[in-house]
């Protein structure tokens, strides 16, 4: 029994909950931090959070599945979020997205076969005067062209190859 409980325990998540005084109203913050910790929200982390906050796993599932930010699977090595909202549409974001899907042979919302590139749609990065906008591994870029996108991604791929 002890073995089973230990297996379910996620120490990182437990510590995160503790830092938020195990308060259920901090759930979004806790999930953000737990996702930062592992790159995604795994079963172990969610079970531990449910226990620490004394709320049901169903409730946690409800929250995790409601918000676009939370991931239940590990992300690709590099995550490209392309803004697909109106202001970026007006300056060619749809063609840019089609180019990216073609270039990395990955549908929006998917991860490339080699797990290196994840393509995501985002609805507004607040860079609407300098569109098309993109966020690559958390960094914001504006006035993106297909060429610039490829160069920015290639730079990151090179860097992660070397590491």
């Amino acid at each position: 029994m002890t073995a089973l409980i230990n297996k379910l325990e996620h120490e990182g998540a437990r510590a995160i909950c503790g830092r938020h005084n195990n308060k259920p109203d901090a759930l979004l913050e806790i999930l953000h931090e737990a996702q930062e910790f592992d790159g995604y929200l795994g079963d172990q982390a969610l079970r531990t959070i449910a226990e620490a906050l004394n709320i049901s796993r169903a409730e946690i599932h409800g929250v995790v599945s409601f918000y676009h930010d939370y991931r239940r699977e590990p992300p690709a090595r590099h995550v490209i979020k392309l803004c697909r909202a109106e202001a970026c549409q007006a300056v060619g974001s749809e063609a840019l997205a089609a180019h990216a899907e073609e270039k990395w042979k990955t549908p929006t919302g998917g991860i490339s076969a080699d797990q290196k590139i994840g393509l995501e749609a985002v609805y507004c990065l607040g860079n609407c005067a300098l569109g098309p906008a993109a966020m690559i591994d958390g960094e914001l870029y504006g006035r993106i062209t297909p060429g610039r996108l490829e160069a920015l991604v290639a730079e990151r791929l090179d860097k992660s190859e070397r590491e």
């Binding site: 308060k23 930010d69 909202a85 202001a87 300056v91 005067a129 006035r143």
Partner: protein
Amino acid sequence: MVETVRIYVPCDAAAVSVGADDTAAAIATVAAMRKIKIEIIRNGSRGMLWLEPLVEIATKNGRIAYGPVAAEDVAGLFDADFLKGGEHPLAHGITEEIAYFAQQERLTFARCGIIEPLNLDDYEKHGGLAGLRKALKLEPSDIVEAVTQSGLRGRGGAGFPTGIKWKTALEQQSDEKYICCNADEGDSGTFADRLLMEGDPFSLLEGMVVAGRAVGARTGYIYIRSEYPHAIKTMRRAVEMFRAAGFLGDNIDGSDTRFYISIRVGAGAYICGEETSMLESIEGKRGQIKVKPPIPAISGLFGKPTIINNVLSLATTPVILAKGADHYKNFGVGRSRGTQPFQLAGDIARGGLVEKAFGVTLGDLINNFGGGTRSGKPVRAVQTGGPLGAYIPVSGFSVAMEYEALAQAGAMLGHGGVVVFNDTVDMAKQARFAMEFCEIESCGKCTPCRIGAVRGKETIDKIIAGEDIAKNLEILDDLCDLMTDASLCAMGGLTPMPVQSAVKHFPEDFGG
């Protein structure tokens, strides 16, 4: 002794997105190589985003602007003696004399781009804290009265009179009340909240403390969307600094006012910009909307009286108190008093922020300020007020940008976003996207929104495919009316606005 030259390079996310960090680094490197003493200050953005990275040199005649300055341009600028305001193809003269800037009326954004965002002395030197200090000497009801008199209406989009909201909350008897700042700026084409939070964060905090004193609240939350990492970082730091300086906590600035602020980060849900949904999210729940009444001012966060205001509404209250309600009220037209930070976006040559008194025309914003399209193609349609706002054709450019005139034209001001589309836009596709966006972002609580959006998208697909066009347009119209009338909140209730306006003004794109 040679004087150190002050150089301003914005740290705003938009500026950084086009290389401001590299530009700042290049300036530092070249200056070091040439043994020139400089001080680089990372200010907020002036809002002239097409010029970003906009580098400014402080001179005794004012700041001189160069932009857009890429890292590669830096050596050339030094060669042109830009530290003394030397001539260069990227030079624009004195920043404040640039027509785009000179023609604005900046009240909310008075300091944005001028000060160093996280420098409290700089903030105070430029008029910060004056409103709060005045408020601390006023009775709560007098603060509410001043805000009411100013005519300030909610800048988030709904345009509800801020003073009336505050009065309702003030009248509630409760052991706890809350001030919640809605910084979930999800509308495409809007970025004013972000610019302000990154460029003048203390003004928002000051406004929240004023609101807290006005209604008797002790706790404030700022709900910032996760897509704004720069703003989150700046606001977090600003809260710490404000607290350390005694403007948050107990006995604020030596008074008996107590106020605390926490920051909550969203998790990628457009609907959380809807106020009841935002409250649910702050409580750590799914961002599902709640039926009103009760209104949040009576029963909001954790069931307590809660003021929910947009970033711009809150950040404007200090200047109202500092300069007086009449000063603010004297700007604007009709029932739209004061100034509105408009945001020019999409295919526009001079995209950015224009704070102007209500009443400026749409055409003036797009042609005079915006300079037409960036692509050089003719304008075909403009969407005002975000993804739930109407598409307006060029023939509608004479509309005055104020709440009532826009409503009369079948459009809305929303959060002040203006997105320009050129003549390659397919309006049937845009209408379809409005439904698709609603489908993706609906909280799912009410049927007209949850199912209506899906059916709407399918019906537009049929129209695009040329299937029984007249009948399907009729179905679409009927569905739109139903969504408008029967949805619980603005998401489902306003999604028909872009759809119906597109059909009305651009019938040729719908097989008509």
